[in-house]
Amino acid sequence: MKPLKIAMMSMTHGHTRKYYQTLKDNPKLDWVAVATANDEVKEIFLNSVDGIPCYDSEIEMLDAHPEIEAVVLASENSDHLRQMKLCAERGIHILSMKIPTFDMDEYDEMIDIVEKNNLVCQIELEMHYNPVIARMKELVANGEIGKIKSFNATNITLSPVWAFPWQGVPEKSYGKRVQIKEGDSRFRGGALCDHPHIFDMIRHITGSEFDSIYAEVAPNIRPDIEEEDMLSVIGKMKDGTIFSLDPSWSKMEERIKVPGPGWEVFPKRMEVNITLNGEKGTVMADCFGPNVYHNGCPNDRYTVQYTYFDEWIGLIDEFVDNIRNHKTPLINLRWHKDTIKAMNACYESIATGKVIKL
């Protein structure tokens, strides 16, 4: 199979560096170029990767490399629609970050652009290429716990706003400035916008859709950021499964500009744990581990050192297969729309204090 000629745009997203290894190593890819959004990310990129042409302008990059077939939009949420249009004009396939947009009119415009231009647009939800999730799906499919009655999950991390400042700006993260609720000084765009995975996974694992959602924000553990960092969500799926989801930034971090050793204040930087309670029993899963531990440099703090498995390998393999074999991505814009609607319902519930029916 001819290697896919791929590029990256912006390089401002927290997942940018996750692509470096797989874009260099995967024989199905030919990494052609990157376009960086600003000097800061350009410097980080040039310090991390050798030999890939780096441009200051997306158009300059696309004009210089008409051979580009696909682009990873490693950008803030507010740039996605504009960049999708830019790609679509040139027939370039798209790998979008996990939140295409929260604006449903924009979302429909994205679907229209992609479908009219016959493009592959895959949404980056890497948990689907996680082996623990694969095992969990298998256990459920095999009837190990019978019909699922409740799905409880965490998707909790440290806050990325110091390393990736756009995530702390409501207009760039949520798309506009919306007060989180009356009498509250915070705005939409925080932890919820960073953590769609468990909202997506419950749909896949139960095979059902959201019926009702209730959410509350708690006092921020970072009082100086202007978005929510702690929230709790419960609700019900149409098949009766109840859920409890925690998409918070509940792990405290050092406020460093480039993620790396010493980022953690709390020993563990992130967690995705899922508990499925079924009619025949319970499955509890920690999606990342087993790990190793140290209390060495730079801060002498006890720290969980992840033994990451690279979910981006499977994600990119699927992306190439979708393009070369004209397949619809597992996580495509139409599928993902109901996940985003559910996340919007969380914000609506927080604002109104009501249970929201979907």
Partner: protein, 230 residues
């Protein structure tokens, strides 16, 4: 109950407590002739220490308390909710002011708002096979630190001793005076003893009344699909 009563009388005698206390079951003691809810979980050392951490200033700026509890099939999930609501109020030192609950048969998820806008999430299920010990976790998250009764990067609690022999065994012994009893059983005895020793019978009855209201509100939320303010 006979062993528990013997242990209780041992403590009452040792510490010269003259108040009469008789354990009726694991939830109730007759103290000075009056049925008294003993809320034995309050005497589990982990909850005492978590309360100390929260109330003693180790954690600053409490935001959230997260609770998950899985028990054996056939258990009353609202009785478990009663227990966990009490643990939240006890550890946080704050009253719960609103509850929203979703139920699916023997599973129950609740968001409870405590004073100072602290949010408590409580996930309960009765899905374990008969005889399996409960799995639970209690975590308090604040601006300055997290406290939890499960070690970081683990899903379940550890035991003190593991024996890998002809038969695998494990032991967790936490009380020298009441050696031989389980953590939960120790809490039952200690709770009845403490109520008798400190004369907190009326306080326990009042707490029980409050918890019954909270559970009633949770049931109302399940029925109505709406948040219930206390």
């Amino acid at each position: 109950m006979k062993v528990f009563q013997e242990k209780l009388e041992f403590l009452l005698d040792k510490y010269s407590v003259e108040t009469k206390a008789v354990l009726k079951d694991c939830k109730t003691a007759v103290i000075e002739g009056k049925d008294t809810p003993i809320l034995s979980h309050r005497l589990e050392r982990r909850f005492i220490e978590l309360k100390n951490i929260v109330g003693g200033g180790t954690l600053v700026g409490i935001s959230v308390m997260r609770v998950a509890r899985i028990v054996e099939k056939g258990s009353d999930i609202f009785a478990e909710l009663y227990r966990e609501l009490d643990i939240c109020q006890y550890i946080l030192g704050r009253k719960i002011v609103a509850v929203t609950a979703m139920q699916n048969d023997n599973t129950l998820n609740v968001i409870a708002t405590a004073e100072d806008s602290i949010v408590c999430t409580i996930e309960i299920s009765a899905t374990l096979k008969k005889g399996e010990i409960p799995k639970d976790k209690h975590e308090i998250i604040s601006q300055r630190g997290i406290a939890c009764d499960v070690v970081v990067d683990a899903q379940l609690k550890q035991d003190s001793i593991y024996v890998f022999g002809a038969e695998n065994k494990k032991f967790t012994d936490v009380d020298f005076e009441l050696y031989g009893l389980s953590i939960e059983d120790i809490a039952v005895v200690r709770s009845a003893f403490t109520i008798a020793q400190k004369g907190t019978k009326d306080e326990m009855i009042a707490i029980d009344e409050n918890l019954k209201v909270l559970v009633k509100k949770a049931k109302a939320s399940v029925e109505s699909g709406e948040r219930q303010v206390i």
